[in-house]
Subunit: 353 residues, 4 copies
């Protein structure tokens, strides 16, 4: 809704991540740093290909809403279903869950240097045209190495490349992922979904859900049937619904009428002066057209489990947070925001057929 050319798909991202995994492992093998059986190599490729299959319609925007699990949990559950056709996937699962005996394989999937980020940064830069996210992926991958205790690391000479990579992600959050209009569209969708569920019930039979158990096979199969087009069909239906706020938010999505977003905290007066302007019949439902929240992205916040290592020619392992503390000093991007559908927008939505 912001970058008209950014219509690239999760499928393409999955292919890209697998391709980068392939390139990275081949490079490490060619350097003589690792040896891998064909089976393990294939398990790693599969892990990259499947790392996001647990995502549903509109992915992050509705994650945990349609099916109340993080997408990783759903991914792991889907692996079991896939085993019926593909045979044993235990090694792939171990890589995805961070439990493989070769930690660098897990780190290529989930760490500050994983193939997920390497792919999406470049892909999103390309399709949005935002040059700040461009990363010299090829060079970065060719400076990857593995420490004696099997952790992923960067050769010392790759320091600048990895600094660049951390910062590229920061810039993409700043300019794309946390862009005001991107937020505005996400908020509208989430508000819409909450209203839909309140009126029509959840998309899936969640009552069968037992708190601590993973999703059942039936639930997973039903979840897999859903995609963006399913939701767009509901949004179209919503535009004819007899519940007024749901009708308005549905039309807002169809007509790309978005929340107006401001950074910071609203004053009480901000709220009242907005409320005073909107059509009186909407006053009881005003909360559906008003939002307050916080957006967040880390730059580089290392933890013992997730720290980028540098491997020197002398065989030392250095930690990026010590070599380049300024990356940590750059701190996270944190944006408090508030917003609303303007009085004029609401009027026009009320009047449109």
């Amino acid at each position: 809704m912001v970058y008209p050319n950014a219509t690239h798909t999760r499928f393409a991202h999955a292919l890209g991540a697998m391709h980068l995994m392939d390139t990275a492992l081949q490079s490490l093998v060619a350097k003589g740093v690792i040896q891998l059986s064909e089976k393990t190599f294939e398990a790693a490729l599969l892990a990259a290909l499947l790392h996001d299959i647990g995502h549903g319609p509109f992915s992050h925007s509705l994650e945990g809403n349609i099916l109340p699990y993080p997408h990783e949990t759903i991914t792991y559950a889907l692996l079991e279903l896939l085993e019926v056709d593909l045979g044993d996937l235990s090694e792939t699962r171990a890589i995805l869950q961070g439990q493989h005996p070769l930690p660098y394989l897990c780190e290529l999937i989930q760490s500050p240097l994983d193939v997920d980020r390497l792919d999406y940064l470049v892909r999103d830069s390309f399709f949005t045209g935002v040059q700040e996210g461009i990363v010299g992926t090829e060079r970065l991958i060719h400076t990857l190495t593995v420490t004696p205790d099997n952790h992923l690391a960067i050769e010392e000479k790759g320091l600048a490349s990895v600094e660049k990579f951390i910062l590229a992600r920061r810039f993409m959050y700043w300019q794309v992922y946390l862009h005001k209009t991107v937020l505005a569209a996400e908020i509208l969708l989430q508000k819409w979904y909450a209203l839909w569920v309140a009126q029509e019930g959840p998309l899936l039979p969640l009552n069968s859900l037992s708190k601590n158990a993973p999703p059942s096979k039936e639930l997973l199969m039903a979840f897999m049937e859903l995609d963006d087009t399913t939701l767009w069909a509901l949004i179209r239906a919503g535009a004819q619904h007899n519940h007024l706020p749901l009708r308005l938010l549905s039309k807002a999505l169809l007509q790309r009428v978005l929340f107006k977003i401001h950074w910071g905290h609203p004053s009480l007066q901000d709220y009242h002066s907005w409320e005073a302007q909107i059509p009186p019949l909407l006053h009881p439902e005003a909360k559906n057209f008003w939002v307050e929240g916080k957006a967040y992205s880390s730059t580089y916040e290392p933890s013992p489990a997730h720290e980028i290592r540098l491997f020197t020619k002398k065989g030392e392992v250095l930690l990026l947070s010590e070599v380049a503390p300024w990356l940590v000093a750059a701190g996270p991007i944190e944006k408090t925001y508030w917003g609303y559908l303007s009085a004029a927008s609401l009027e026009s939505l009320l009047q449109s057929p």
Copy 2:
């Protein structure tokens, strides 16, 4: 279904065409070749923005099927509806219909050098990664000029650029638009649609249609409600339909099981040996899974109305077909093809849930 990153939209293309129209007219004004009132300038921009609004779901693939008119006719009819909101669009309509007193405006919309082609070639090259279609658009636009009788022309020094442009389109047809797998997907969709209509009737109430009249307002409004997601919802429904061939083609689309395409003409034996292999219960319906056809694209076939002009420094108008007859000699791309859903594909579709 062939180039996973080629998910760009008609909306982006319309923005692009308008941008190129803007660039071209500004360049011509800056050169002192033309003068334009603000009103006419805006009409030309609108014409570029709206030139494709008559396209429906899956555009060219189903053009004339859902609503039995060429997309241009629908575009002109939609202009009338738009006039309710936007006011008089007669100048925009004149440009789109090739009847404006300044022919170069019409030629920028519809001719071998129009902004439509200039945009889609570059856009499709970018998103497919097929470099053969890359065109130096900027340079081409800056060599545009207008002849004394108000026809669009290229300055003589732009000859190489325009030759390159004609050939880039040829290469894109060869490598993308008439790619075997692209054809295979298109054929599958068309076969599916024919079956759907045979079983469920047309998507729109076409019985109200009178042969020689343009589409009614009601029909247009209904047509505008349709988009790709509407059809994907029907395809999903088709996968549960009790008509076996419709069910199979629906699943084929959902599972990306495509026709196998061969160039050339099939022998009778080709047909019989295929038929002998497919499951006997499909024999009565075999024609739904078999196709013969012809794909075609011109390279440069000038007609009096559509000829690229070169304008020399001395003020002569030359015709591209005379200056570069080899472009005409390159001839059209014409591909006769035949194909089928293979026995194995049909088996697997029969068995999938």
Copy 3:
């Protein structure tokens, strides 16, 4: 002197050609189309790296002038000198001279599809910014194959790529290599060199040259000492020379005062009206400031020895001239030109210190 960023070097071109040879051979080996001993592989790389070492200062512009042999002859002679250090180069020489038992190796060096052209087209496009020369080198190389009788060929599916490649070269000649200002600079240099030799004798002791023998070792060593900077030093010296025309042409080079070039044939009146304007003291030397000539580049002119082959899946060998006769029809680019240093240019050169 025309494209200020086109300062790339023959050294970089040689590295590039060797890199493409490496890529092409590795691709052919990986496809299982050829097998090569390490020794032959290395000989092919060396052939690509060394294919242009026979070029002297300003390469093509002064080829045959400084040392009266084509650059290939000099290359072969230099190979003998190199053998002192590098050992036997007979296989490299066979490849360069077109006499290797595996003709495809020779064709990768010298044919319409050789690594020389593949490199210089892309390199020159990149550094001049002229997009028309961009070629999908990677794809082209990956469709290379070898026929049963060991000739280089393109897989049938690569037809469009090879058509594109032929035309890219045509466009580069049109827009760069035969650009008016490029010609103007080349002519100036050649005129200057002729004058210098007339006044100061040849740069090398050519009197020792016997007609039918190759250049002596001493001559070669002296030739190798020369580079562009040697000639620029002479041009600077020429600007102080007491021979007036030489002084003027030297200054013209240093101050980038170029010939004015027209396409076509001059009339007698063109000459006389120019001569009438130039300073009378230059009349006796007018021929140094006037030029007539012809520039030429083929598009695709196949000969039995130099024909691009297509290799079909069925194992047939097709000739490009039969499959795409329009490429032959496109014909060569042939430009007759004439030109001069203008009266104003000559005046200003006369007056500059």
Copy 4:
């Protein structure tokens, strides 16, 4: 000597800087932020075009050596000579010297956001292929603005772009400008020049130089006659010189035999073990083949005079060092190094003809 394609010239850089100045000023005028007379506009373009004319052969590597002034002093002095032909250049001089009444003009020439850096970062990235230096110049320029007191600033929304720009420069220093092999080549040249002067005297008649005066016109004219080719001629002459160390360093340059560089401080033992290996006849001259030094580049070290300003929508001026202190925290790049021509290199130089 490191990146074979990085043969771009100072002339191209000067054109580029002028082009960016043009783009920046046009953008500021179009925004209504500034108004400029045609005369001042032209003075600013000239300042950008001429900002580096004080550089001599090999520019920074020999700056202050051939003519003992910083290149800026020479630039100012050359402006006076140019005034003979070009007329009054006082406004151009004021901009170059930081004394123009409109400080933003001076800041576009010399500040952390000047057109010099904007051009060379992108140019050097392009020609070396080091992607880390790529900057979204266009976007950066379009977020430029001017504060009420006429200082250059960036609109608040350009913060990410300017952060990216600062860091791109850091990366280019890390990967290109302070690359070990780049340093090695620079050191070799400087050592060579010192030896040449010791043996043959300075290139220019510096004895006429009076300490506190600017260079005389004669000296400037002589300086302008020198270029890289002049020095390469001397280097060739040096290879035949009877002074052994000069001869060796000359050959080293011609044969690209470079110093071996280590980061850090050498131990006394490092020195002695090297000295023990080199040919005894070179012991007395060992210091010519050994080097210790320090390379340095700031990241963002603001001073009152050189601070990047951000201009908010509310009209506040913020300082980049306060908004993004982590850029200051990133600190300078400082590399202590030592190195030598290896014993093997020296042997081979001794033996080569």
